[in-house]
């Protein structure tokens, strides 16, 4: 988790000009860090390329809109990193 977290923090700081020390595992990317949808596209692009995955953002958004999930499940940093790890593991399987 820590290496994924560090990598994602690097991506966010390079993409969004957010100070590194403000990004915590419990930070919500949207509500706490103020990352908007366009910046999140850049972040998703960098995460996809770095980890060799395709984050299913549309599926996540749909689940949130339908009340099947909360934004915390996907956009709190430690949860986002866990989802990334799951996608990487699924790709290797």
């Amino acid at each position: 988790m820590s290496s994924t977290f560090d990598t994602v923090v690097n991506i966010i700081t390079e993409t969004c000009d957010i100070p590194r020390d403000t990004i915590k595992p419990e930070s919500h990317a949207i509500n706490d860090l103020g990352i908007d949808s366009l910046d999140f596209l850049d972040i998703a692009f960098a995460i996809d390329k770095t980890f060799g995955i395709k984050m299913p953002i549309e599926q996540w958004t749909q689940e949130v809109n339908e009340g099947k999930a909360t934004t915390d499940q996907y956009f709190v940093m430690q949860n986002l990193c866990a989802r990334i790890d799951e996608l990487v593991a699924a790709k290797k399987a």
Partner: protein, 157 residues
């Protein structure tokens, strides 16, 4: 080009869905009211319209790749370069390739060549969403036919 309708692509020359590339051509009109202001005595194709032409080229590629199920919308330009003047009457060769296909978005690299010389290039991001209305899809299908979009290419995928 029909500048007044913001239709900047004249013809799709080649659409390669396996290679994830597109080649289109566009002719800058000899005259337009745009050139009266941009600029008096030195008519030039505005750089923003060159960028838009790359966005439309990339957009047709995404429409092909999503089998005409999703509509692209321009979200971002990066590293856009306008390397030389483009004058009225110029024929443009535009190409676009997929840099990355994400969930609900594409990152593209597009180029404009004139007589084999690179005049503009950019990286751009397009969001795609399911066609929000049947009317829009119908309009896009009509436009696709007008620019010789190879519908048969979708059937072979």
């Amino acid at each position: 080009m029909r500048l007044e309708y913001f239709q900047l692509i004249d013809r799709i020359v080649a659409l390669d869905l396996n290679g994830r590339t597109i080649h289109v051509e566009a002719h800058v009109p000899e005259s337009s009211t745009i050139f009266e202001g941009h600029f008096p005595g030195l008519p030039l194709m505005p750089g923003v319209l060159l960028l838009e032409s790359m966005a439309q080229t990339s957009g047709w590629l995404t429409i092909g790749l999503t089998k005409f199920t999703r509509m692209p919308f321009l979200a971002a330009f990066k590293e856009a370069k306008l390397r030389s003047f483009v004058r009225p009457g110029t024929k443009l060769d535009l190409t676009a390739t997929v840099e990355h296909e994400g969930s609900g978005f594409f990152v593209m690299r597009a180029r404009i060549n004139v007589d084999g010389r690179l005049v503009s290039n950019a990286e751009l991001t397009l969001r795609t969403i399911a066609f929000p209305s049947p009317d829009l899809r119908t309009s896009m299908e009509k436009l696709a036919a007008a620019i010789e979009f190879p519908m048969q290419a979708l059937a072979h995928e």
